[in-house]
Every structure is written in structure tokens, then in C-alpha cells.
Symmetry: C2
Subunit: 152 residues, 2 copies
């Protein structure tokens, strides 16, 4: 549990003290941002900077079939987040929203999701544009996006 | 680890024996499908049957701000999956693909992702169309989808 400071009127709950399922980190995201504070609020899959998705052993064989131009959903772990916020201020705003109505990293299971286009494929990495997390963020999953997304 | 039978030429790896991060189940998905074998290969957010996303305590307050018509990304845990497959046959097909190039439930972190439209909002539940997992599947997260998806 991270203790990032609460802002006025934000609402927390007691997070259940249990683990229902375990995640494996399967790689790492390489982005230009060293700190969370430097990251953009949302990635820009068109104009955003080039980023790399590095796949750790023993998983690189699972990239077979991914090609340049494919749209993919990238899932990653936002380990700096706090997990007890149910009502919060969106970053840089004064209104309050439920956690499930915004894409804040602070959520019961702090999983980030970006839909991006593949710009390059290497034996153990993908090159993409427009991730929005800090350098070194752990990778959880890559999936093809079946329905095309506008702007991604 | 699930031991669902391997098909010809599918490729497995030794899954690292560790947990890097822990998930909390925060609710449950109610769908018409009792068994994995009954589920559709992909959900249909337009013509699919009505499903419910039930939010467990202490999380319902996090729904504040979600409205009918919103597009949401729903993340859930596919606990029946095996986690060691890196090359596999897509369901009902004879070709082989890397796990990250298909949306099979069998993947190192068996997280399912559906993008659906909100049809109804209750104090501790959302009504949606077109989920594709079995009844009782554990919920992990709900996020608004910022970029509209065609067909969803």
C-alpha cells in the first residue's frame, strides 16, 4: 500500500488483507519518463514518443504472429499506486469521481491498459508509440485488439 | 496451474515459481454460460445477451460517475486457464500462434478484457451486453474507455 497523500474529500476503504490471485511480471516497459510525475496523463498512440516493450524469458516465443501495424492492448502493473481509493480527484482537477469512472493508477488492482500500434517487432521486444507509464513499469500481458480503435 | 490437454505442436515453458504482485477479486460477472465450453469465442457488445457486473464490498462507491451509454473496459480473472503456453492453437483452429497474438484465456497472466457499453447502473452493479466468460468469473477492474471503439 502506497501512502501518496490524500486530497480533500477523497474517500478510502479498508482494503481486504488477502491475495486472490498472483501475477507474474513477464517483461518491462521502456519509456522516456523516469518518474510518475513526468508521465503524460494519457498516452498518445499517434504523436507519442517511441517506447519498447521488452519480453523476459521464458516468454518471447509468445510474440509469434504479431506484426507491424497491429493494434495491441498492453497490460502493466502500476506498483506505486494506492489501492484504497474509491472516490478521488482526477489528476489536475478539482471534481470528484468514482475510481471505476476514471483511469487513475490508484485503484483496487492497479493495472494499466494502453491500446497502441506495433511499429517494430524484435525477437524479444515490440516497438510502439504512446505508452504513458514510467520507465521500468512491469509488463503483465499483451493481447491483439480485435475491434479497431479510432486514434490508436 | 491447470492441466487442460495440450494439442499437437503446442509449446509450453516452465512457469517461474513466484508471485510478483497480488490481485484482489472485487466482484463477479453474471453471464448465461455455466461452463467454459459454452462461452462464445468473443463477446458481441451489440447482439450479445445481457450480463451483470456485480461489485463486492467495499468497492461500490467507486462506480460514481459511470452512466448509461459509457464504453468501459472490464478486466476479469480466468482462473481455469493454464499459464505455461507460449505457442498454441486458437480455439477451433489448426494453425499455431504465439499467445500474445491471440486472445486465448491460456496465457502467463490469465486476465480477460472486454470492451462493452453500459446499459444500466445500479448501486452495486452494472448491466452490460456481450461478455464472453462463464458465470461467476471474478472481476478485477473497470475503466472508462477514452477512445471510442467501433462496434462497442
Amino acid at each position: 500500500m502506497n501512502d501518496a497523500k490524500l486530497r480533500d474529500d477523497e474517500m478510502t476503504v479498508d482494503v481486504p488483507d488477502r491475495i486472490d490471485a498472483g501475477l507474474l511480471f513477464i517483461g518491462v516497459l521502456r519509456t522516456p519518463w523516469r518518474e510518475v510525475a513526468d508521465c503524460p496523463r494519457q498516452g498518445d498512440a499517434e504523436a507519442g514518443p517511441s517506447c519498447r516493450i521488452e519480453i523476459a524469458a521464458p516468454w518471447p516465443a509468445a510474440l509469434a504472429g504479431i506484426g507491424v501495424g497491429d493494434a495491441i492492448d498492453v497490460l502493466y502493473w502500476l506498483g506505486d499506486a494506492r489501492r484504497d481509493l474509491v472516490v478521488q480527484h482526477p489528476r489536475g482537477r478539482s471534481d470528484l469521481r468514482g475510481t471505476f469512472a476514471i483511469r487513475s493508477p490508484h485503484r483496487p488492482n492497479p493495472i494499466g491498459l494502453s491500446t497502441v500500434r506495433v511499429d517494430g517487432v524484435e525477437p524479444a521486444a515490440l516497438v510502439v508509440h504512446g505508452l504513458d507509464c514510467r520507465d521500468g513499469t512491469p509488463l503483465i500481458d499483451i493481447k491483439p485488439r480485435l475491434r479497431p480503435t479510432s486514434g490508436a
